[in-house]
Amino acid sequence: MKKAANGLFVGVFLLMSFLIVCTSGAQEVKMTALNPRGNPPAIPLVPMAPRLDTLDGKTIYFVDVRFPGGKSFLLEMMDWFAKNMPMVKTVFREKAGPYMDADPKLWAEIKRNGDAMIMAIGH
């Protein structure tokens, strides 16, 4: 009787061990998946334009892309320069076209006549 009980105990122990091993093995199954992302292009770096040693006597263009409120904001900034840094010449311009488009004529004018540009961008 004692031998039968021992045998039953060993059998149950082995069965439990087997089940634990199987369950642990199933939880450890690992897989790889393919990356769903596309290929971002390499980015050509654009070095920043040289800075001015001083703003006195310089011409700063204030460019409005016509985002609502942008013009009013830029005019207030120009007014600040007039009151606080009167040696700075300020010029206001509206960029042509939708606000994400370039304006080559304006860029050419700024390169010709300006020393710096401040653009107000909204979204």
């Binding site: 450890e28 290929n39 390499a42 770096l45 920043m48 007014d79």
Partner: protein, 427 residues
């Protein structure tokens, strides 16, 4: 709010060290005195005086980093893992590669199965896509589209349809604070070949092909263009629920009394085509007691966004049940879709005052009018109560018949046609 957007946009334009300063949000709608306070106040991000930052930005000498030239490479690994299925699901979710719902993990085996749905090579270039015009465009291959198609739960036989959509380069998640939505309509024999629904419940969650093809477009728009990143490449203030599936449907060509949409656009009836649309929302008609559906259409569509140049938005996509379409043809005399479009165009006018009061018109069309571009320049001179067309032309009003004839209803969306692509080319 826009710090991440500004930094990543500048980075992607090759200017990771671009100097900028912020003012409080919003600028739009504020008075000059508030703008003055913004100028005289502090940058809400850095806490520093705005004008100090402006002057420093223009005068402080450049650092070595700011002078750098060359290229920034951004290679993506081909494989993800190995890890358990649960962990990979979580990874995909946390990386923003899903629509928030569980996906079918794109194992190499599943992607290989999907690739059997096309004769094209896995490394063949399908197209380029960007989240919106200021953003960079990413390239993607047939394999990359297949990965996203697997994720959506699509079957290989749907793959040519998904490839056709991807080949247009049109994103389903266009980045705009207005929260755009997209629609995709399928025409031709492919509809029946892959078991798409064009009848009862076609616009609802009742069909595997409709559901997964539409979902695939959203997933590939997120992943193949770097799109759908909140605050960076997606700025929809509220988002749009239609973006989960893009209202993917098949036109009911069997009971449609008119020409199928793709035939109107110059394709042959036996060709299979996907057609894409962009807009914001859909309205429902609740039927017409007098059965004057065209008048009801003009009335309800009279609230749709008026045409705005520059962005070229504004259009209408009418979705009549076949019962409505047949009545319009047989009882009301609209024997072609074009005649109905013409009638709606003439009967959805808008006052000049309301036209110029539209936000998009004010931003994009007013500058054109001021430059003398017609007809906008002439519209500026009209009295406020004069009436002008809401839509650019009858061609901006499209009609797709869909439904199962359980009742005479129609729906319509403020959706403009983007373009079509041939499915057959991707088989």
């Amino acid at each position: 709010m826009f710090l991440d957007l500004v930094k990543t946009t500048a980075y992607k334009k090759g200017m990771p060290n671009q100097r900028f300063t912020f003012v409080p949000h919003p600028v739009w709608g504020k008075s000059a005195s508030v703008h003055r306070q913004y100028v005289e106040g502090n940058d809400p991000i850095s806490g520093k005086p705005v004008m100090r930052e402006v002057i420093d930005a223009l005068t402080k000498p450049l650092t070595q980093e700011e002078k750098k030239t060359g290229f920034l490479e951004r290679k993506e690994p081909r494989l993800v893992g190995p890890d358990t299925a649960d962990n990979l699901q979580q990874l995909f979710l946390e990386n923003g590669w899903t629509d928030g719902l569980p996906i079918v993990l794109p194992t190499e085996k599943k992607v290989a199965e999907m690739l059997k749905g096309t004769s094209r090579r896995p490394d063949e270039l399908v197209g380029k896509m960007r989240p919106s015009p200021p953003h960079e465009a990413w390239e993607y291959t047939v394999e990359k589209v297949a990965i996203n198609a697997v994720m959506a739960g699509a079957k290989p036989e749907y793959f040519p349809v998904i490839l056709a959509i991807a080949s247009t380069g049109a994103t389903s998640l266009f980045s705009s604070t207005t929260s755009f939505a997209r629609m995709v309509v399928v025409n031709g024999p492919i509809r029946d070949q892959i078991g798409m629904n064009s009848g009862m419940g076609a616009m609802g969650p009742f069909n595997h092909a409709n559901a997964t093809i539409g979902r695939a477009w959203t997933l590939l728009s997120k992943n193949l263009s770097g799109g759908g990143i909140l605050g960076e490449t997606y700025l929809g203030s509220q988002g749009n629920n239609l973006s989960y599936n893009n209202v993917c449907l098949a036109e009911n060509e069997m009971t449609n009394p008119w020409k199928p949409f793709h035939v109107q656009k110059g394709f042959r009836p036996e060709q299979s085509v996907v057609s894409l649309f962009t807009g914001w929302g859909i309205i429902h008609s609740f039927g017409s007691a007098k059965k004057e559906f065209h008048k009801q259409m003009a009335g309800l569509m009279g609230s749709f966004c008026p045409y705005s140049s520059g962005t070229s938005v504004s259009g209408a996509l009418v979705l009549p049940d076949p019962l409505v379409a047949k009545d319009l043809k047989e009882a009301q005399g609209f024997d072609t879709k074009e005649k109905l479009s013409e009638w709606i165009y003439k009967n959805t006018l808008i006052s000049v005052e309301d036209y110029w009061n539209s936000g998009l018109v004010d931003t994009f069309t007013l500058p054109q009018a001021q430059l003398g571009v017609e007809p906008f320049a002439s519209w500026l001179k009209l009295p406020k109560d004069a009436l002008i067309p809401r839509f650019l032309s009858p061609k901006e009003i499209n009609i797709v018949v869909v439904g199962g004839e359980t009742n005479a209803f129609w729906q319509a969306g403020d959706f403009r046609y983007i373009g079509s692509a041939l499915v057959d080319a991707w088989k």
